[in-house]
Symmetry: D3
């Protein structure tokens, strides 16, 4: 998977949210609000919270959501490969090796 | 739930690991190794990794494991209530409101 | 488990939300908003949406959350035992027998 | 993803069940029975039960199973986009935003 | 937790199924059928299948269901502590350390 | 999906582990150790443990991990289609029909 595919993924994802904005404004507003309240930590900085979000996503969710989280961590916060790997170390401990390998494979496929 | 119950929980938990140490030394060794490799991040500090562990546990696991994670975050790293609440904010976003409320209730029951 | 225990559970739960209201007003507001947007369906009525919430909770969550959902379905909407059992039938199909039995046991322990 | 891909998915799915019918008749019979008992609600109608099934699937399962549930809801019961979105509202509340977005993206990719 | 509590758990569980038998005979019949078809393997013996059931339950479910599976493995098939620990080894690999520790603690609390 | 795609999957997967070996030798070593300790059962044989691993993976994980487990069961241990189906029977019982169908479809797509 190269950057082209990733960009296609991004478009795929953004489309869903764009449609929501047009068709279900109350859901769109909540969707923005929930992000804002979730990420406006009183004690932790935004980057730490995004790393936590990545950890939970890698433990629970499918490829697309994990890829999206890794990309947004890297692009918005300059999170490095080593930092993402440190998140994935915890994923191995708490959620097992298949969840860890899923994250590893997505990380390296983005890097290529 | 007060400190007495929590201490009983702690004993309940430690017993399992104590028995493993005696009966299955290879599993005990792995269990120590996996914690060490998971938490010896190359790029993130230990406290950030523990917060990530708490986030994943709150999203996925039952009451006991969540309580144990909150206690170890507070006691070993001086993590504050506000910092834990910042982790739980992300849990609400990624894993939904029941997982969030479970964490909130455990946090406040510990505090009392 | 009788009504006394259930009432204790209710108090246990409400406490968490009461504290959130005092300590984290932004989270409390979001928590109210997300319920409102989630349950203000444009096409389905509130009761149907609550039954869906029960189905998902029974498939995913621990005893306390399931019990809370069953109680709120029964008390706020007059949902009957047979209707709850019809939700649990779908839980068996989609999420397996342990999730189904968990729901059944909670339902009957409330009834007693 | 257009209708062509969806039809291919359908064929992919049906194949599995067709083979089961030939190779494991006892499993096939159970598979039919479990659907019948699950969906012959005593108190809720079939459509409500299918909406519950969609909610649980969207909260727990991968893309293919969610797509299949959305299609069967739409084709067999004339469930509308707004009704599906009302199910997904509950998914956001109970299972978090990634599960919600997965459902939204699949719904809109079918619509196109 | 000693044998008394476990027996109480057993009664708690059996009650649910007893009520189902009386109130929802179609569900009871399916519940028996699904066990029979699941465990009448064509190629694996019953004990191996029960060990697999324990593995999945330990990876996914709450304390009660895990305890019930361990008890039924031990009582019906004479499964030993070492064999259960071998299942839990795989649980650690695939589902992470909290799921493993949950199983370990239940196993040792039964033993006492 | 034919053998060509499966081989591509295999390469995709192996790449991740190859990179880990080069970039994070401590994680690679742990990754080998955890497999060794997990699968060196004291009481169950390796093949039985691999079948348990497949059961848990089919209940919890995405397509790629399930496919990888089925392939490694077949190629390393000569596990037959009937034996895999016996694992999937238990998956239906404990984890529900979508998880079962996911396994069935992957199994038959490999066979073709």
């Amino acid at each position: 998977m190269g950057w082209d595919d990733i960009m296609k993924e991004e478009v795929f994802y953004s489309k869903g949210m764009k449609y929501i904005k047009e068709d279900y404004p109350d859901l769109y507003k909540l969707s923005v609000d929930i992000n804002e309240v979730a990420y406006t930590g009183k004690a932790l900085d935004y980057k730490t919270q995004k790393l936590i979000a990545l950890g939970i996503t890698a433990a629970m969710s499918d490829d697309r959501a994990v890829e999206k989280q890794i990309l947004s961590n890297m692009q918005e916060f300059g999170v490095t490969k080593d930092e993402i790997m440190d998140v994935l170390r915890v994923v191995m401990l708490i959620a097992g090796k298949p969840a860890f390998m899923k994250g590893v494979n997505i990380l390296y496929s983005i890097e290529e």
